[in-house]
């Protein structure tokens, strides 16, 4: 074998192996088209090589005639193979890039979803704006608060303004790259909102602020609560002031009313003087009622209850509430009304509030139907109080009525639909009726007026006492210890009690009263009754002094007197060991009557 024959054999083996190996190359490596082209290319030279080998063996084959042309075919086949492989590789590369991109997008989408979930879970509105105030992003809460405004200018979208809002915290963040806060009042489709905005700059890698993020927190409820706390604090201060004034005013009235009633007894025979004194007394009594109402408002104290027929009180309070109004009351009062245990001054305030409310609902005038009736409630009606016997007082007006949306809140403190209304009238009425174990309801629809019904539990016992006959003066005999820090009241009490026939010893504070009482007991010259003022600024008050006197003599008859007629000691005097109460201011007739009632003095007599 010569060298050329050896090379041809080697070429034949090489191309043969190459052709076989092509079958083992995976389809997806080059692609089917490339493999076929490669196979054709290699087959050309496999045939040429086989032909050469056969030529050396003196065997001429069929391919000898085409050998030269076969060789020409190799180049196009190989060239197409390269193109095909190149296209396949480029396609693979592009698909791989697309896969990578899709994977990156999926990852980014997942991150975005995660971030969106976190931002939604925060509960605050979050918005991102670029340097031109264009809204780039809003989370769900922000969209609910302000609407979807992505792509719009924030000041145009949120504030309907043509330029950035003054004091905008985002703008401030753009300027100094710091966090800024601001509180805003915003009007949205849901109503007025109070929001707290915290703005932070978003800084790129070059250190430039390219956007701002604002976190918006709805602080409407917090602000309302703060406002209500402030209102309540203000009201408490006013209440304290009013209470103090009412107390002092009661002491002054005590002197005025007492002296008038005393003067009336002195001038019994002079009709002209008596008439003037009676007029002054009536004015003082009106003043007394006013101070009592003021005290009820200021302290909301425990009701000083007594069992009574409330028809007269309802009628008088209703008329009293409408002195100059174009509105008139029409009364339908049950004659067989059950007695109820109420604080007259507090119930009077409830009537006043409901009648004034009805009056304000009818600015053009109209009628208020006021009725009282006995009702027997059976169990099962959840809107009414517990079953039992109740007295129902109804107030029905012909006003515009109350919108259904306002009905659930009309008894809430500070809730008012009237301009300048305090929102206290109905709230106070509700509170007073609740304190009496009763219930208040309202029925209304727009255009058909409103009907308020007050349910008060019927008293199990009879009416406490007959109305005091003002002109009756009970005189008596005995020793009375009188304690009051106000000198004018002490002097007046001395005059009145002496006029009634009692011997009186005065004390200016509790400690002095206790010492005097103790000394009298030691001298075996005890007092028949003690009258103690409840409030003594800077000294021992009536409550403590009463305890000490009861320690000395458990059978002591002690009456407690105060300008705070609604004080819990006054309301529950029996619990503190007192025999009774004398609310200030009082007339000589009331003082005489109280002493007569508690001393049971057989020598007492009526004097006209």
């Amino acid at each position: 074998m010569n060298l050329i024959a050896f090379f041809d054999l080697l070429a034949t083996v090489g191309f043969g192996i190459a052709v076989l190996a092509v079958f083992f190359i995976r389809r997806d490596y080059f692609g089917l088209q490339s493999r076929i082209l490669l196979l054709l290319s290699l087959s050309v030279y496999l045939l040429v090589s086989i032909s050469n080998v056969l030529e050396h063996a003196d065997i001429t084959g069929y391919f000898d005639r085409f050998e030269d042309y076969l060789e020409i075919l190799f180049m196009p086949f190989f060239l197409f193979f390269l193109f095909s492989v190149s296209a396949k590789f480029n396609l693979d590369k592009r698909l791989a890039a697309e896969d990578a991109l899709r994977s990156a997008l999926d990852k980014a989408e997942a991150e975005h979803s995660k971030l969106e979930a976190i931002l939604a879970a925060i509960g605050d509105g979050i918005s991102i704006q670029d340097r031109n105030f264009k809204v780039l992003y809003q989370n769900k809460v922000h969209k609910e608060m302000a609407g979807d405004h992505a792509g719009k200018l924030c000041y145009e979208a949120y504030e309907q303004s043509s330029e950035p809002c003054p004091g905008c915290p985002v703008e401030a963040s753009f300027l100094d790259s710091k966090v800024h806060k601001a509180e805003r009042r915003a009007t949205r489709h849901k109503g007025t909102l109070y929001v707290e905005i915290t703005a932070s700059p978003i800084i790129n890698q070059k250190g430039e602020v390219y956007a701002g993020i604002e976190v918006v927190r709805d602080v409407t409820n917090r602000k309302r609560m703060t406002d209500e706390i402030l209102k309540a604090q203000k009201l408490e201060s006013i209440g304290l002031l009013a209470g103090g004034i009412a107390h002092d005013f009661n002491n002054l009235l005590a002197a005025v009313l007492g002296n008038i009633s005393l003067a009336k007894t002195y001038a019994a025979s002079d009709n002209k003087v008596t008439a003037k004194l009676e007029a002054a007394e009536k004015a003082s009594l009106r003043g007394r009622e006013l101070t009592r109402q003021l005290l009820t408002f200021s302290k909301g104290g425990s009701p000083v209850k007594k069992v009574m027929d409330i028809n007269r009180l309802v009628r008088e309070s209703s008329i009293f509430s409408l002195p100059t109004s174009r509105v008139k009351c029409v009364f339908v009062l049950s004659e067989e009304l059950w007695p109820v245990e109420v604080d007259p001054s507090q119930l009077s305030q409830v009537v006043n509030n409901l009648v004034i409310n009805a009056d304000q609902a009818m600015p053009e005038g109209g009628l208020i139907h006021v009725s009282t009736e006995n009702v027997l409630l059976s169990p099962g009606n959840s809107t009414l109080p517990a079953s039992g016997k109740y007295v129902c007082v109804s107030f029905t007006d012909q006003g515009q009525g109350i919108a259904a949306g306002h009905l659930p809140r009309i008894f809430d403190p500070f809730y008012s639909t009237k301009a300048g209304g305090t929102g206290l009238g109905l709230a106070t009425a509700f509170s007073i009726i609740k304190n009496h174990g009763g219930h208040i309801t309202v029925e209304s629809s727009p255009g058909s007026g409103a009907k308020f019904q007050v349910f008060l539990p019927a008293a199990p016992k009879g009416i406490d006492e007959l109305p005091v006959q003002d002109e009756e003066v009970y005189t008596g005999e005995g020793r009375i210890l009188f304690m009051d820090d106000d000198e004018a009241v002490r002097i007046l009490a001395q005059d009145m009690l002496q006029h009634l026939g009692y011997n009186i010893v005065l004390a200016s504070n509790g400690m002095e009263a206790v010492n005097i009482y103790k000394a009298a007991m030691e001298e075996n010259n005890p007092f028949d009754a003690v009258i103690l003022d409840l409030e003594v600024p800077g000294g021992m008050g009536g409550s403590e002094a009463g305890k000490k006197i009861l320690t000395i003599n458990p059978a002591a008859k002690i009456l407690v007197s105060s300008g705070y007629s609604n004080d819990s000691v006054m309301a529950n005097s029996g619990k503190y060991g007192f025999s009774g109460i004398i609310p200030k201011p009082y007339k000589i007739q009331e003082l005489g009557s109280k002493l007569h009632e508690h001393l049971g003095n057989p020598l007492s007599q009526k004097s006209f």
């Binding site: 080697l10 083996v13 083992f24 490596y29 030279y45 050469n52 042309y69 196009p76």
Partner: protein, 95 residues
């Protein structure tokens, strides 16, 4: 003496060479370096085929057949390399 088929083959080979060289320079196709080598051998054989008709007939004829042998070996090596690598990595998948 020049033969017509040999000249045509040479021209086509030259065009193909330009494209192949361009592809080699761009490094477009990974894993086909031995195919390029095989192609170069075939191209050299084509040149020698033309030259053997002009001078040193015996020498160029020997070189021509040597280039065929070398080309065959290069293509065989290239195909085997890819096939073996794929078999190792992913298993066999015949046509």
């Amino acid at each position: 003496m020049f033969q017509e088929s040999e000249l045509i083959n040479l021209c086509v080979s030259l065009i193909t060479l330009v494209i192949v060289v361009s592809a080699i320079r761009k490094h477009e196709l990974p894993g086909v370096a031995l195919f390029y080598a095989g192609f170069c051998c075939i191209f050299a054989a084509t040149v020698f085929t033309v030259l053997e008709g002009v001078l040193w007939n015996e020498l160029f004829n020997t070189l021509e057949h040597f280039c065929y042998a070398l080309g065959g070996i290069s293509f065989a090596a290239g195909c085997l390399k890819i096939a073996v690598k794929q078999i190792k990595l992913q298993g066999k998948d015949v046509l």
